[in-house]
């Protein structure tokens, strides 16, 4: 038994390297496989899903069918409007609140931070019936506005919490410099801090968008007419009690994931930086 020769930091033996890559490749395969598999099935025609291991019969009929003969595009538009609306409104108001909580000491400061944490615990099951009634009274059921507001209330607490943490990591000297130059607190926030907080905003925007884009429970109950379905509701009509159009489902799944994926790749560069700064200072 000889003691292993000390290696300089950051290097490792060839065997360790191979093991490292093997594990990473295996994990990547698990994470990518379901996505590739669904893309593969979607290209196999309407009944291709019944033969998942064969490599024949490639065509685009699933895509043609859902784009031409279902309300998919309408649902897609609805989802886009609702998710973008919820993201823009949600990020703006939670940024303003997060900045106030981060930089100003005011009565209600601590309770507000607690509220942000506690609200995330609310099971939507306890809110959904009363919300349904409220939106009914405001005549916002089955409309974009009602769903946008609902989604804001879901994502705002997390976003405000995260952004507060992110603002904490920006030195206060910047604010002071802004004040010396005659900016109002809001001006400082808007012109100096917001541009610096781009990674944090990217993470929260990504979070809000994905949350809204993929929400099922509220959308299923609030959007009652087929014209107003979002994708999450519409997709359920392909695979329901009576029928199982899995071929169409796979094509829809691919088209639904593309915008989410695009936003994701725009934001992913910022994800690590944004999450660290925000997440660590709960």
């Amino acid at each position: 038994m000889s003691t292993p020769k000390p290696r300089p930091r950051g290097t490792r033996s060839r065997g360790a390297s191979a093991a490292l890559h093997t594990v990473l490749i295996a994990a990547s395969a698990v994470s990518v496989f379901p996505v590739l598999f669904i893309v593969f099935l979607s290209l196999r025609g309407r009944d291709g899903w019944q033969e998942p291991t064969r490599f024949v019969g490639f065509d685009l009929s699933n895509y043609r069918h859902i784009l031409g003969q279902t309300k998919f595009l309408t649902w897609f538009g609805n989802s886009l409007v609702v998710a973008l609306g919820a993201t823009v409104i949600g990020v703006l108001i939670s940024a303003s609140a997060g900045y106030a909580v981060s930089r100003m000491r005011f009565p209600g400061h601590r309770p507000l931070m607690w509220t942000f944490l506690v609200v995330q615990m609310f099971p939507m099951a306890v809110l959904i019936v009363p919300l349904y009634n409220i939106l009914g009274q405001l005549e916002l059921l089955d409309s974009y506005g009602g769903l946008i507001l609902t989604y804001c209330s879901v994502s705002v607490p997390f976003c405000a919490w995260m952004l507060k943490g992110y603002f904490d990591s920006i030195p206060t000297e910047i604010d002071e410099a802004g004040r010396v130059d005659g900016l109002t607190p809001f001006g400082t926030f808007w012109r100096l801090i917001m541009p610096l907080a781009r990674p944090g905003l990217a993470v929260t925007g990504f979070y809000s968008f994905i949350t809204a884009w993929g929400e099922v429970a509220f959308a299923s109950q609030f959007m009652s007419s087929e014209e107003h379905y979002t994708l999450a509701v519409g997709l359920q009509t392909f695979v329901g009690q009576q029928k199982a159009e899995w071929g169409l489902m796979t094509a829809a799944a691919v088209l639904i994931t593309v915008p989410a994926g695009a936003i994701f790749f725009l934001a992913q560069r910022h994800l690590v930086a944004g999450l660290t700064a925000g997440g660590t200072k709960g």
Partner: protein, 313 residues
């Protein structure tokens, strides 16, 4: 009296700016979370259901006839008369513990690997975060197709290996395993990214100093890495528990919305009470309030535990 007014005015003068900036969030939360919560608590003390709430049919308005029943609902649920609570609670706790443990363990492992000097690191990172970009309902439907008994890919593989097919989504134990698998697939990327951020925030001087002192890799992991990760871990585990406990979509869409099933967690059961069959608004609200109370108690104890650990160091 006037001093209170002056003080209120002075307080307003100093703080109106901060209040104005938090106002939109406060209004949204008050109207869309606070009021519904109050209403939910109230409903849980009544016997409201579809038959006796006020509603308008055409031009006729029917007034509500449900009445206040005090703690009856809670008593029925907690004493076991209603018959589902404790079995569902047990499964919900197991589900949460299993999912969060696997999320954290796998996320930590992958983050440690990605934190090294690896070739293709950026590529690996993108591939490993990919599940996060897939909306949960899309992923759940896709997994449901892969788990399909007759045409699913897993059973096709099992067939190729000469084994019989398994009823992934029918058998109640397998159902649970499948649900955990889907949720783990969905949840690992978040943990991994958060932990990776935490790892990068640990100053490398600490590792170098430990190495100089002759610490083995395991000792460095145990005494430098893990303590350095504590702030991140505390937050992500708390969030993970809350999110998993309330994870509606995976269970609801994977297991289906049909008849009662053993794999239902508290949230999906509560949802079903409110929107299926004779709509039992009071029962659903009672379950909702119980879920919320459980999570609150957990969060308070958890934070206290973290604070004590912090103090002990």
């Amino acid at each position: 009296m006037s001093s209170i007014v002056t003080r209120a005015r002075r307080s307003f003068d100093t703080h109106w700016y901060a209040w104005a900036m938090v106002l939109p969030v406060v209004v949204v939360l008050a109207v869309l979370v606070g009021y519904p919560l109050g209403r939910g608590i109230y409903l849980s003390f009544t016997d409201a259901n579809e038959a006796n709430v006020g509603r308008t049919i055409g031009v006729n308005h029917i007034a509500s006839t449900y009445k206040f029943v005090g703690l009856d609902n809670y008593w029925k649920v907690l004493s076991g008369q209603e018959g589902h609570f404790y079995s569902r609670l047990t499964w919900t706790v197991v589900w949460t513990a299993a999912c969060v443990f696997l999320h954290y363990a796998i996320g930590l492992g992958l983050a440690l690997l990605l934190n090294r000097q690896v070739r293709f690191r950026a590529l690996y990172r993108v591939l490993l975060i990919l599940p996060w970009a897939v909306p949960a309902f899309v992923a759940t439907f896709s997994w449901r197709l892969m788990f399909n008994e007759k045409y699913g890919i897993f059973n096709a593989f099992l067939g190729k290996l000469g084994m019989g097919s398994m009823d992934w989504l029918g058998d109640s134990t397998l159902q649970k395993v499948s649900a955990v698998a889907v949720n783990v697939w969905l949840g690992v990327p978040f943990m991994m990214v958060a932990i990776l951020g935490g790892l990068q925030a640990i100053p490398s001087e600490l590792h170098e100093a430990a190495e100089m002192d002759g610490a083995s890799p395991w000792q460095r992991f145990r005494h430098v890495t893990l303590p350095g990760l504590r702030p991140v871990s505390g937050t992500v585990i708390l969030l993970g528990v809350i999110w998993t406990f309330n994870m509606f979509q995976v269970i609801y869409l994977l297991i289906g919305q049909g008849a009662s099933s053993e794999s239902e967690i508290l949230v999906t059961y509560s949802y079903r009470l409110a929107f299926q069959g004779v709509r039992d608004y009071a029962g659903s609200a009672t379950y909702g309030i119980l879920i919320l109370s459980l999570l609150l108690v957990f969060a308070v104890f958890y934070r206290r535990l973290l604070a004590r650990q912090e103090a002990a160091r």
